[in-house]
């Protein structure tokens, strides 16, 4: 299971890098979304995928049969943060498009004075 997850995470990172290297701002934002998805899945996988074992230690349950609940708490926090940041980024991108009249990063290179 961990192997499959690793491949999925690698694919997500790859797709994110590909999208972030493109010129269109909206593709870049989708890329950052995929990047944080990859990071969150990595967090979940690195904590160990517990399978069917319960996340509570009761009598008669040994530590090896115990699913670690902490990674889930961590990725919940991380998801909320990345959700907020992505929505903020979309709003800023829209405002910038209205103001600057382009979403092509190639045209936004350097600073205003260099134009």
């Amino acid at each position: 299971m961990e192997i499959i997850m690793s491949v999925v995470i690698g694919f997500l990172f790859m797709a994110a890098v590909y999208l972030m290297l493109s010129k269109s701002l909206i593709r870049i934002i989708i890329g950052t979304g995929l990047l944080s998805h990859g990071a969150h899945l990595l967090l979940l996988t690195m904590g160990g995928l517990g399978g069917e074992s319960p996340p509570v230690v009761a009598d008669g349950v040994s530590v090896s049969d115990y699913a670690d609940p902490l990674p889930q708490a961590l990725i919940l926090t991380a998801i909320v943060i990345s959700f907020a940041v992505t929505s903020f980024f979309l709003v800023v991108a829209y405002r910038a498009y209205q103001e600057l009249g382009t979403d092509n990063m190639e045209l936004l290179k350097g600073t205003e004075d260099h134009e």
Binding site: S36, L43, A96, G110
Partner: protein, 493 residues
């Protein structure tokens, strides 16, 4: 167990939330924001003396025992930085009154500043690496608001890049935390300091340490990850720039200092030498920029990068003099950068431009401003007895005692470039033929000059009276150099 160490985090949070209820009453906004910053400063000074007298303060949230709950730890190093942060926010709020403009004040400017303060104080206080991520996100979120605040063309253009760089570094932060958790099984910094020396396979830990250096390096603007900083910081108005320049990169520097002294010490031959080399390259890259530009904002912005290099070089030596020097220089740099941005902000307002070539002859009309700037510029370069001197002296001494003595030579040589870059502003703006200036009303000028002068006076006091602060600084360095003190304090709770 005392909750005092949570006050500098909670007070600005509550006040910022309250301020959002009545955005249009500007007088109230100003008064309450000022009061909030003042209260935070008072509580942080109390905290500093409490830590100094009674040792490291620890609160474990929810009363879960140490490695399971989230620990908030306040040692002398973090409480010194919390005091400095609160002081700077107080002055930035004062400086904002005449400069930021009514439109911005009506649009949640003060709440954003106070939320930023919450995040910075939290990041300095937390004892949990994932909680550090959360507080960094809090301050980043506030900084996104501030950098785009006002929605000018250039601000929108630069804030996209600023947002993108920080989102990528946050994703890498989560990934680095994931790797660290899978190797050690804990996220509590004190527990990490216990567990990491027990792990025999140091190779993977070295990789994780370098990954964390990249993550924090984005925030601290080290070489070669500083590329986003000059353009982004150039966009927002001066009080916001002063706030960013003084506080934001320093959170990254603090995180590197904390992690590289507390637990990433298993392979110092590689990681700390890498840190030293990067620090020196950062200084050199900053020097090139500081000399290349004719824009007052850009010159001071590149000086931020130089200072980051100087501080990190001191830490990388891992000896008493180096670490003490880094702490002194970090505090000095936070204050002097805010003061310099305030002063060049006044100069830029007077001329209506930040281009040095269009300035000149201010010494006749604004002599007080000129002398104040000169004192601040000498302080930046570290001319004794001003505030940059004791820190730099100790860092250079640490370098000569440590393995990378050539770094100290570079720091000494680049001090001259720092002096040149800062004095160049003085020569161009204050000497020479008078240039036509924008009319500036006396009360507005005084309202801008007052916080700047007080802050410069504080830095002068910090330099001249460095001996007074030494017990605090050496206590802070002692905890950084002996992780066992930190560990014991956390697990005692």
């Amino acid at each position: 167990m005392s909750n005092l160490l949570l006050f500098p985090i909670i007070i600005p949070l509550i006040i910022a939330a309250a301020l959002m209820l009545f955005p249009n009453k500007i007088k109230m906004q100003r008064l309450i924001a000022l009061l909030g910053a003042l209260l935070t400063l008072i509580s942080s000074v109390f905290l500093l003396f409490k830590v100094y007298n009674d040792g490291i303060q620890v609160v474990t949230l929810g009363s879960w025992p140490a490695p399971f709950g989230i620990s908030m730890v306040s040692d002398l190093f973090s409480s010194l930085l919390v005091v400095t942060t609160s002081l700077i926010v107080l002055f930035v709020v004062l400086y904002s009154f005449p400069t930021i403009g009514i439109k911005r004040e009506q649009s949640f400017y003060y709440p954003a500043v106070l939320f930023l303060m919450t995040g910075v104080n939290g990041a300095f206080t937390t004892g949990d690496i994932f909680n550090l991520f959360v507080f960094v996100e809090v301050l980043l979120m506030a900084s996104y608001t501030l950098i785009v605040h006002g929605g000018e063309r250039q601000q929108l253009r630069e804030s996209i890049k600023y947002l993108l760089v920080n989102i990528i570094s946050s994703a890498l932060f989560v990934a680095a935390v994931a790797f660290l958790y899978s190797v050690t099984g804990t996220l509590n910094m004190a527990d990490l300091a216990v567990k990491i020396p027990q792990i025999e396979n140091t190779g993977i830990l070295t990789v994780i340490a370098v990954l964390f250096l990249v993550v924090f390096g984005f925030k601290a603007a080290i070489f070669p990850l500083y590329f986003w900083l000059p353009a982004s910081y150039h966009a927002p108005p001066m009080p916001i720039l002063a706030l960013f320049g003084a506080l934001l990169t320093k959170v990254g520097v603090y995180a590197i200092m904390r992690t590289y002294t507390l637990f990433f010490t298993m392979n110092t031959g590689f990681t700390h030498e890498l840190l030293a080399i990067i620090a020196i390259l950062t200084i050199l890259a900053g020097c090139v920029g500081a000399l290349a530009y004719f824009d007052v904002k850009k010159i001071i912005i590149y000086n931020i990068i130089i200072a980051v290099g100087v501080i990190l070089f001191g830490v990388s030596q891992l000896n008493e003099a180096g670490v003490q020097g880094s702490i002194l220089y970090l505090i000095h740099d936070m204050m002097i950068k805010a003061a310099l941005f305030f002063l060049v902000g006044i100069v830029a307002v007077i001329f209506g431009t930040s281009n040095l070539r269009k300035m000149g002859g201010l010494m006749k009309t604004y002599p007080v401003l000129g002398w104040t700037y000169l004192v601040a510029a000498f302080g930046l370069a570290g001319i004794p007895p001003l505030s940059g001197f004791p820190g730099k002296l100790l860092i250079v001494q640490g370098g000569f005692e440590g393995p990378q003595f050539w770094g100290s030579i570079v720091i000494l040589a680049t001090s001259l470039i720092v002096l040149l870059s800062a004095v160049r502003i003085f020569i161009y703006a204050f000497w020479g033929e008078p240039v036509e200036t924008k009319p500036l009303k006396k009360p507005a000028y005084n309202a801008m000059l007052f916080p700047s002068m007080i802050l410069v006076a504080v830095t002068v006091f910090f330099g001249v009276g460095a001996e007074l602060f030494m017990p605090f600084v050496s206590g802070a360095a002692e905890v950084l150099l002996n992780p066992s003190l930190y560990i014991e304090a956390v697990f005692k709770e």
